[in-house]
C-alpha cells in the first residue's frame, strides 16, 4: 500500500494535441493519502475513467508522473503496479466457476493453495455468493456477475489501491446500497486506498472521505463532502452537488453588498472589486420566503417528503428554495431573504474569498 501522487499529469488521446479540447485530462497535481477512501465525481465524459486507467497503468499519460509512495510508476505496466480495478460492466471468466473466478488473481500471483482457499472463502461471504461457488459463471445474472467482479477486485490483500469504475451501474438499487456499505466496511477493516469513480453524488458523498470533482478534464475541487457543499470552489461543484444544486445569480459587488437586478443583498464580508462575470451562489436551504428582499416568482411546489422545493425564478434565472417539513409557505409571497453567511461569490465561475480573509 502506498500514497498515490499525480504530478503535473495530463493526457491526450490524439498523438499531436493542438487545442484545449484535444486534452482528455488537463494538467493536474493531486495526492492521495495511503488508506484513504476517495471518490472521483463528475458527469460522463469528464475524464474520470481516463484518470483511473492512468493510475492502474492501462493507459500511459502523455505528460507528468504517477508516483506510488516515492516510486515513479508512470511507465510501469499494469501487472507490476499491483492494483485492483473493477469495471463498469461485469467482467467474468465464463468458463470458470465462481470459485475459480475469485481465485484467478491470486493463482496468477502464485499464492499457496490454502491461502487462496481462505481468501476466496472470506470474499465469497462478503459478496454473499458462498452457496454458488461451484457454479459456472456463465449464465449468472448481471448483478451476480458484477459481484464476482467486485470480489475479484477485493480478493488480493496486498494491493496498492482498489479502483472502482462506476461498479454499481448494473446492480439494482437495494443491492447497490448493501454493496456500498460493504465496501465501506471493507475499507475500514483493511485500510486499502480506494478510489471510486461515479457520476452519482449520493454514491460519492456516502462512500468517500474526500471527493474529487472533475469537469471537462479538470479537477475543479477536492475536499470533504461537507466542504464541497458549504464552499464549492467552482460553480460546477455548486450545482453538481446538492439536490437541487446551488442557485447562481449574476450580480455586481460593491464592498459588502451584492446587487442582483437592482436589488441590494447584504454579504457577510466586503469583497474586492473584480473584473469578469460575477455571480453569487446560495444553497436552496439558505433561502427563506420573506415579505421583503429579492423578488421571486414562484412557478411550482414539489413535495419530496422531508422537505418541499419551491421552483421559481429570480430575475429570469431558475431559482429553488427548500422549505423544511412543517414550516408553512406564506400565501402569495413574492420575496425571498438570503442568509448572508452562506452566500458565495464567484468570478468567472471560480469562488473568490472576501477581502480581509484573502489579504
Amino acid at each position: 500500500m502506498a500514497r498515490i501522487t499525480l504530478d503535473n499529469l495530463a493526457h491526450s488521446y490524439s498523438p499531436a494535441p493542438k487545442g484545449d479540447a484535444d486534452w482528455a485530462l488537463k494538467p493536474m497535481s493531486l495526492t492521495w493519502r495511503d488508506g484513504g477512501a476517495y471518490a472521483l465525481l463528475g458527469s460522463s465524459g469528464c475524464g474520470k475513467t481516463t484518470l483511473l486507467n492512468i493510475i492502474s497503468g492501462l493507459l500511459h499519460p502523455s505528460r507528468g508522473q504517477v508516483l506510488f509512495g516515492d516510486r515513479d510508476v508512470t511507465t510501469l505496466p499494469t501487472a507490476d503496479r499491483n492494483i485492483a480495478q473493477v469495471f463498469q460492466f461485469p467482467v467474468v471468466y465464463d468458463t470458470m466457476t465462481v470459485r475459480q473466478n475469485l481465485a484467478f488473481p491470486l493463482k496468477n500471483r502464485g499464492l499457496p493453495a490454502d491461502r487462496i482457499a481462505a481468501r476466496v472463502a472470506s470474499v465469497a461471504r462478503m459478496i454473499g455468493m458462498e452457496d454458488r461457488l461451484d457454479r459456472r459463471a456463465r449464465g449468472l445474472t448481471a448483478d451476480a456477475k458484477q459481484k464476482i467482479s467486485l470480489g475479484r477486485g477485493m480478493v488480493r490483500q496486498d494491493v496498492n489501491a482498489i479502483l472502482f469504475d462506476e461498479p454499481l451501474t448494473v446492480i439494482d438499487p437495494q443491492m447497490k446500497w448493501e454493496l456500498r456499505t460493504q465496501l465501506k466496511a471493507l475499507h475500514r477493516e483493511f485500510g486499502h486506498t480506494m478510489i471510486y469513480v461515479t457520476h452519482d453524488q449520493t454514491e460519492a458523498l456516502t462512500f468517500a472521505d474526500e471527493v474529487v470533482v472533475m469537469s471537462e478534464g479538470r479537477v475543479v475541487q477536492a475536499g470533504t463532502p461537507q466542504s464541497l457543499f458549504d464552499a464549492p470552489a467552482h460553480t460546477f461543484v455548486g450545482y453538481f452537488i446538492g439536490s437541487p444544486g446551488m442557485n447562481l445569480l449574476d450580480a455586481q459587488i460593491a464592498g459588502a453588498t451584492a446587487f442582483v437586478d437592482g436589488t441590494a443583498i447584504p454579504l457577510a464580508a466586503p469583497y474586492a472589486p473584480s473584473a469578469g462575470r460575477v455571480q453569487i451562489g446560495i444553497r436552496p436551504d439558505a433561502v427563506r420566503p420573506a415579505t421583503e428582499g429579492l423578488p421571486f416568482h414562484l412557478v411550482r411546489v414539489e413535495d419530496v417528503g422531508h422537505h418541499r422545493i419551491l421552483r421559481g425564478e429570480v430575475a429570469g434565472t431558475p431559482f429553488n428554495v427548500v422549505v423544511p417539513e412543517g414550516e408553512p409557505i406564506p400565501a402569495g409571497f413574492d420575496r425571498i431573504a438570503l442568509d448572508p453567511a452562506r452566500i458565495g461569490v464567484f468570478v468567472d465561475d471560480w469562488r473568490i474569498e472576501p477581502r480581509e480573509r484573502a489579504a
Binding site: N53, S56, G57, L58, P77, T78, A79, I83, A84, Q85, F87, Q88, F89, V91, Y93, D94, T95, M96, F104, P105, N108, R109, R135, R136, R138, G139, S149, R152, G153
Partner: protein, 289 residues
C-alpha cells in the same frame, strides 16, 4: 378466464411452406429413396430389391476404403485449419487501414470457384511447368502428385488449407472483435498470462463461431469433390478417391443407380450423424453449469 378458441383450420396456413419444402427437399430425396430399393435391367422397368443395395454398400470394401480416406482427410483438414485459423485471427490487426487490407486479402481465396482452385493447383503443382512442382523438383525433392499418393495427398491438403483457412480465420476474427476491451483490461489487472487470456477470454468468446467453423469445415471437407477431381481425378490409383468421387463414378460412370442411391442416403446420414455429434459435444461443454 378467456377461452381460447380451437380451430384446426389454422394448419392450412402451414401449407405453402410444406409445398415449397416438398418440392425443394422431400420429393428429390424420395426419388433417391425410390432408386435405392429397386433394381432395373433397362427399359425403365424396375423391380423391388428391398434393402439389398444398402447391404451391398455397407459390405463393400471399396466404399469402406473411400470412407476411411474421407475421415482421414476431414480429420487432417480440421486439425490444420482450425488452429491455424485461430492463430491467424489472433494476429490480424484489430483496426485501421491494415485491418481492412488484411480482411480483403483473406477473403480472396473464398471468392474463387472450386474448379478454378483445382485448376490453379493442378497447374501450380506440375513438375514440368508448375511453379511449385518445378521449384520442388529443382531443389532435389522427389515430388510428383501424379505418381506418388503421399504427394497427391499433400497437394490436396495444402490446396484445401489455402482455400478455406480464411473462412475459419474470418469467423474467429469476428468473434474476437466482439470482446469488449474491459475483458483484456481486467485480465491485465488480474495478471493473467497470454495463455490465460487466450484460454479464459478469447477461446470461450469464440466458442459460438468456432462451432460454426468446425461444422462448416467438416461438412465441406467431407463432401469435397471438385478440387481433388480436377487435380488428381481420384488417383494415383484410388489414393485420393473420396466418397463423392466414388459416388459419382458409381452413379454416372457405371450407371449403378440403385447402389449409388443407397450410397447417397448412407453418406447423407453419416454427415448428419457426425455433425450432430460435433454440435452436441461442443454445446454441451459450453452449457454445463
Amino acid at each position: 378466464m378467456m377461452d381460447k378458441p380451437v380451430n384446426n383450420r389454422a394448419w392450412f396456413l402451414v401449407l405453402p411452406v410444406l409445398i415449397v419444402v416438398a418440392f425443394s427437399a422431400v420429393i428429390p430425396l424420395m426419388t433417391v429413396v425410390n432408386y435405392s430399393v429397386q433394381d432395373t435391367f433397362g427399359n425403365n422397368q424396375f423391380f423391388w430389391n428391398g434393402l439389398g443395395w444398402f447391404q451391398e454398400v455397407l459390405e463393400s470394401d471399396r466404399i469402406h476404403a473411400a470412407l476411411g480416406r474421407q475421415l482421414l482427410f476431414s480429420a487432417i483438414i480440421l486439425a490444420i485449419e482450425i488452429p491455424l485459423g485461430i492463430f491467424i485471427a489472433l494476429n490480424m490487426p484489430k483496426r485501421g487501414f491494415w485491418a481492412s487490407l488484411v480482411l480483403v486479402l483473406m477473403a480472396l481465396p473464398l471468392l474463387i470457384p472450386w474448379n478454378v482452385v483445382g485448376t490453379i493447383w493442378q497447374v501450380f503443382g506440375r513438375v514440368d511447368i508448375g511453379l511449385l512442382g518445378h521449384t520442388l523438383a529443382a531443389m532435389g525433392f522427389d515430388y510428383n502428385y501424379v505418381n506418388d499418393p503421399v504427394d497427391a495427398w499433400a497437394t490436396i491438403i495444402v490446396m484445401d488449407v489455402w482455400h478455406w483457412t480464411s473462412l475459419v480465420a474470418l469467423l474467429c476474427y469476428a468473434g474476437l472483435q466482439s470482446i469488449p476491451d474491459a475483458y483484456y483490461q481486467a485480465a491485465r489487472i488480474d495478471q493473467a498470462s497470454r495463455w490465460g487470456v487466450f484460454r479464459y477470454i478469447e477461446l470461450p468468446k469464440m466458442g459460438g463461431v468456432l462451432l460454426i467453423a468446425v461444422l462448416l469445415r467438416f461438412m465441406d471437407s467431407f463432401m469435397i469433390y471438385t478440387e481433388p477431381f480436377v487435380v488428381t481425378g481420384g488417383g494415383p490409383g484410388n489414393a485420393t478417391t473420396f466418397l463423392s468421387i466414388d459416388l459419382v463414378k458409381m452413379a454416372i460412370g457405371q450407371f449403378d443407380l440403385g447402389p449409388a442411391a443407397a450410397f447417397s442416403l448412407i453418406y447423407f446420414l453419416v454427415i448428419l450423424l457426425i455433425s450432430w455429434v460435433f454440435y452436441t459435444v461442443m454445446t454441451a461443454q459450453r452449457e454445463t453449469p
